[in-house]
Symmetry: C2
Subunit: 341 residues, 2 copies
């Protein structure tokens, strides 16, 4: 089981030593049943002895197939994207694909560079997060016949397939839950809408529901901040420190919601007695928090799996990718209640 030479072997060498053609060795590895048991044995023994590992580069080059899929997420530090990424990867791995993950860090420039790199790598498909980007990127992918799918955002444009849930409707529903409890003055903490169309859609849903309930939108109760616990905490402190603080906070992601929860408790505002808090994403931690945090469950795993599956089918069977809207759902927990008085 020790290797003959210290150099990595090639198909050609294996073939020479086995006394067969390179085609036979190739077949022995790719479609073992198409080779006689005897020659197969001989070849596989040599493969093991040489520790031969086929060159996927050469193979991909020859066959024009790479088995690569690219995934663009803003960050994986937010665990909801991490969970999403893992579900995509699990599915692709099962389908024999490899995943190239790229962080765009909420930067359009970086995203554009990365898409070019993905095209260079001749990925067979691309999964985007959010739909707002330069149309040139979509055109580039189409030109190279690379199927793509948008996740985390529904796309208005029917030519851009999206497998996602409706951020606007989900945020609207979360806001409605608070209003139905009797809240009339509600604060909002969310990501930076300038670089994040999910945040932008969630704000819009929040405003729409306020409007539907004939409540005024007060910009002093709104904070757009980076996705960090500390930012959520700081935003909550600021909002709760205003002259007329709200009786409820809608945090458009759970990371900031947890920061807000901690901050309110530190300020001596009991949750939900003094202030209700509802988050967004349904991270595992929300279930365990004190009090358990109401939130909006997003179908991160289902979305990742569906996107991966759709892409694989598009590549393998040329099946066009259909847009799909998955369900997001308000999860009521003890962090929300009717306002006092």
């Amino acid at each position: 089981m020790t290797d003959e030479t210290s150099q990595p072997a090639t198909l050609r060498q294996i073939a020479r030593e086995a006394g067969v053609s390179v085609a036979t060795v190739s077949r022995a590895l790719r479609r073992p049943e198409s080779v006689s048991a005897q020659t197969r044995e001989r070849i596989l023994a040599l493969v093991a002895r040489h520790r031969y590992v086929p060159d996927a580069l050469a193979a991909g080059f020859a066959s024009r197939r790479t088995g690569l899929v690219g995934l663009m997420v803003p960050t994986i530090s937010n665990s909801i994207y991490a969970a999403f990424t893992e579900s995509v990867q699990g599915r692709l791995q099962a389908a024999g694909r490899k995943l190239l993950i790229a962080n765009t860090n909420y930067s359009a420039t970086l995203e554009s560079e990365i898409v070019h790199k993905l095209v260079e790598s001749r990925v067979e498909g691309v999964i985007f997060t959010g739909c707002r980007r330069d149309g040139v990127l979509y055109e580039l992918l189409r030109h190279y016949r690379i199927p793509f799918v948008v996740t985390w955002s529904t796309s208005g444009d029917p030519s851009i397939p999206a497998i996602s849930f409706d951020n606007f409707a989900a945020a609207k529903a979360a806001t409605k839950t608070l209003i139905q409890l009797g809240h009339r003055r509600i604060g909002l903490i969310c990501g930076l809408s300038a670089v994040n169309d999910r945040a932008q859609q969630r704000i819009a849903g929040f405003r729409a529901e306020l409007e539907a309930a004939a409540l005024a939108f007060d910009p002093t109760l709104v904070a757009e901040r980076p996705f960090e616990v500390a930012e959520g905490a700081a935003a909550a402190e600021a909002i709760m420190g205003t002259a007329r603080p709200p009786t409820a906070l809608f945090c458009a992601n759970d990371i900031q919601a947890l920061g807000a929860l901690f901050a309110c408790q530190r300020l001596g505002r009991a949750v939900p007695r003094d202030v209700s808090i509802i988050g967004f994403d349904d991270l595992p931690m929300t279930r365990i928090a004190n009090p358990p945090l109401a939130t909006v469950h997003v179908p991160a795993q289902e979305m990742g799996e569906a996107a991966a599956d759709a892409l694989v089918r598009a590549v393998d069977m040329g099946e066009p990718i259909q847009s799909r809207a998955l369900d997001a759902k308000v999860i009521t927990r003890d962090s929300i209640a009717a306002p006092r008085g």
Copy 2:
């Protein structure tokens, strides 16, 4: 700016239309200064018009260089690995490399398969998490002249370069901090040592410090559990529910520590008055929690950057990778105090 044909172009086509050789086009793209301004202009115009994107597969095949680096982490759902992954990626991206991320999900079998896939892809380097694995994998990488580096675990074997910190010493120091506060009965919650050498080293550090302080090791106060908030909470409930509960809990990761914190509070055990809790990893959230959670700061970012840099230098300049021990440091916060009475 519209493309001539609907087919992706190749170097050859660009060359033909520009009236130059393929070599010149290749040079115009790779080393623009080595081509006259005039022909360069002409070529770049055609490149833009055709939306030509070079085929990295063919280029890599011809040059025997892929620019790929493989990273194996057990999971990215734990945000400490996510942060680590991002630091690796940032550094590699800056060095013009691409990152192939693979989740091993704490499975040795899966890891082995993935290493083979990485070799197939002819990655130029591999970053491992933890050092405990079949030596055949290391041999395979050496045979293919692929440099690798272990992170998150110091390696006993000098032939296996590790850029990490000392889990044993860090866990020992955390335990010592509790003992010095006066705790004599300390519980431990950590990951599954059977599949996780970091957990195993941290347990060992915990036991070593108990022994150094002449304290008995009580297995009923130890819980090995998957890395989940809920698991941390359940473990804390179990341990605090025993006949003689400990006065302090050492949680070998912050995720479980947060779960434990929430569980203790729910049980009516005030932290740190009734029970002290110290975590491990220094996640951003620990700083914001109520009370702020004492923890062990791990150099996740520094480790990721150092590993990436070392690998790049190994590839570019053949520089062998030196093992390095980075610092981990106990962070005292309000979740720990002297025991009552």
